[in-house]
């Protein structure tokens, strides 16, 4: 851990410098070389667009709307993916039935489901959530399932010798905690994939708000500085999810792994 923190400290300063240099280069290229904000808005254009958007207040409604879409998608993915992964990992026969179906559905890009999302659920909030769900559910299933597959037999047998003999108890007290690192990795991947699906999920007009929706809206108005504001916002929130998740989950639930990984 100590070595890691030290490394992060060094990276942090170098990283900040890199960002500043990139911003300066961007400013130079946009303002001095290209001088056409429609092709490439300068950071200063983006900053002023950001403040005017904040001033209007819509940006917060957009953020809230997108978070609702995302929460529906990810929430459903957790609700479906974790139990499904558990059942598949615990029961070989169910795995044999379900696994081929999942392997067939999984490679279909989430965005290819958009037509059916519209037909089934219409232009609704749930429709956007459904696309995010499709993106997020497979990593959760696969990781939960492989986590349960990989539970060492000796843990299960030790549990049985100590009076934990019912299937339900074995899942709850042995298999689930043993598989948790893998489940957590799946949720983290799902968060990333789900967030990437967000722009497309909002693109087909499920609402008048949303980060993805506004990105397209400002594009149609040719206000590229505002488009960049939404791009950066999407990126930063995705990053924040990942950091919060990593920090919180590792500290709270996976503390026991600290000495183990090495």
């Amino acid at each position: 851990m100590g070595r890691h923190a030290e490394k992060n400290g060094r990276d942090w300063r170098l990283g900040a410098l890199a960002i500043l240099v990139a911003l300066a280069a961007w400013q130079f290229i946009a303002a001095v070389i290209i001088r056409y904000p429609f092709i490439l808005p300068a950071p200063t254009d983006v900053a002023s667009a950001f403040f005017s958007l904040v001033g209007k207040g819509d940006i917060f409604v957009d953020l809230g709307t997108s978070l609702v879409h995302f929460a529906i998608g990810l929430g459903l993915a957790l609700l479906v993916g974790i139990p499904m992964g558990i059942i598949m990992g615990w029961n070989r026969r169910i795995e044999a039935v379900v696994d081929p179906l999942i392997e067939l559905l999984r490679p279909i890009p989430p965005l290819a489901w958009i037509p059916f999302a519209i037909i089934w659920f219409g232009l609704t909030t749930f429709s956007a959530g459904f696309i995010i769900f499709i993106g997020a559910v497979f990593p959760i299933i696969i990781n939960t399932y492989s986590g349960f597959r990989g539970v060492p037999r000796v843990f299960v047998e030790a549990g049985k010798m100590l009076g934990c003999t019912k299937d339900r108890d074995l899942v709850r007290y042995i298999a689930l905690p043993a598989a948790l690192p893998s489940v957590a990795a799946g949720i983290r991947i799902a968060t990333g994939v789900g967030w990437m699906c967000l722009v497309a999920a909002e693109l087909f007009g499920v609402s008048n708000y949303g980060l993805g929706q506004k990105l397209w809206f400002y594009y149609s108005l040719h206000q590229m500085d505002s488009v960049v504001v939404y791009m950066i916002l999407l990126g930063l929130i995705g990053l924040a999810f990942d950091m919060v998740f990593r920090h919180y989950v590792d500290k709270k639930f996976l503390k026991w792994r600290t000495g183990e990984v090495a």
Binding site: V154, F155, E157, A158, G159, K160, M161, L162, G163, C164, T165, D169, Y173, I174, P177, A178, L180, K255, W256, R257, T258, G259, E260
Partner: protein, 253 residues
């Protein structure tokens, strides 16, 4: 009580070519209450298979295993087990590992910690109460595993080469500790090993098994009083006698 009676036990597994591999053949063994029995044999002689059936983790093809007159049909809180590989739950602290069995029995939190702490003291690891297994050495992990198995106060303690993965010094130290614990708690112990030295040091009786098919070859009574001194001439003589007899009668074809 902790009387173990094994009668006409048979076990075989199907080979890939369809023939059967006989792992245990007509095995009979009685272990008296509070006795310390070592089962000694080379790998593949069926000793782990035998232990797993006593534990109730595997079922036999025919024959019976009974503890205090009741047939063993599955894992049973009267039987504790210490595994060869590290079996502590890495996501639980030391105290929560020891308290696991009591938790499964629905013992209230306060009560189970009180009991678990007693067993933690017994294996001299009180200062590691809230550590995770990953923070412990191999020897400490096996001591916690012993405490965890004892916490349910079983009458029979099964140990499957529990010190096999440890270095010689740690191993000797843990053998001493195990005997002290056994003196204090007075369980029936069935201990699996492939080390003659370990068996002579620990056991009241040594049961020597030979492979293909797994059967009992010889049983030695070790009457040498404890604590036994490894460096003494009696100990060395006894160890030699056991080795000689094994070489004469129980050699592996």
């Amino acid at each position: 009580m902790g009387d173990l009676v094994i009668k006409d036990l048979n076990q075989s597994f199907a080979r890939e070519d369809g023939s059967r591999l006989v792992v245990l053949e007509n095995l009979n063994l009685d272990v008296k209450d509070k006795e310390f029995v070592c089962i000694l044999g080379s790998s593949g002689c069926g000793k782990t298979t035998l232990l797993r059936m006593i534990a109730g983790l595997d079922t036999s093809e025919s024959g019976s295993i009974a503890l205090d007159g009741r047939e063993i049909k599955g894992p049973n809180p009267k039987i504790g087990m210490v595994f060869q590989e590290y079996s502590l739950f890495p996501w639980r602290t030391v105290i929560d590992n020891i308290a696991f069995g009591l938790e499964m029995q629905g013992v209230p939190r306060e009560k189970r910690y009180t009991v678990a702490e007693q067993y933690l003291n017994l294996v001299n690891l009180s200062q590691f109460r809230d550590s995770f297994p990953s923070e412990l050495s191999g020897g400490m992990r096996q001591r916690v595993a012993v405490a965890r198995a004892l916490a349910l106060d079983p009458v029979l303690l099964l140990m499957d080469e529990p010190f096999g993965a440890l270095d010689a010094q740690t191993r000797n130290k843990l053998q001493h500790e195990l005997l002290e614990i056994w003196e204090k708690t007075k369980k029936t112990v069935v201990f699996i090993t492939h080390s003659v030295d370990e068996a002579v040091f620990l056991a009241d009786r040594i049961v020597v098994m030979t492979p293909r098919p797994g059967r009992i070859c010889r049983i030695f009574e070790i009457t040498l009083p404890r604590p036994r001194d490894r460096t003494s001439t009696e100990f060395a003589g006894l160890r030699r006698d056991v080795l000689d007899l094994i070489n004469q009668h129980c050699s592996i074809q």
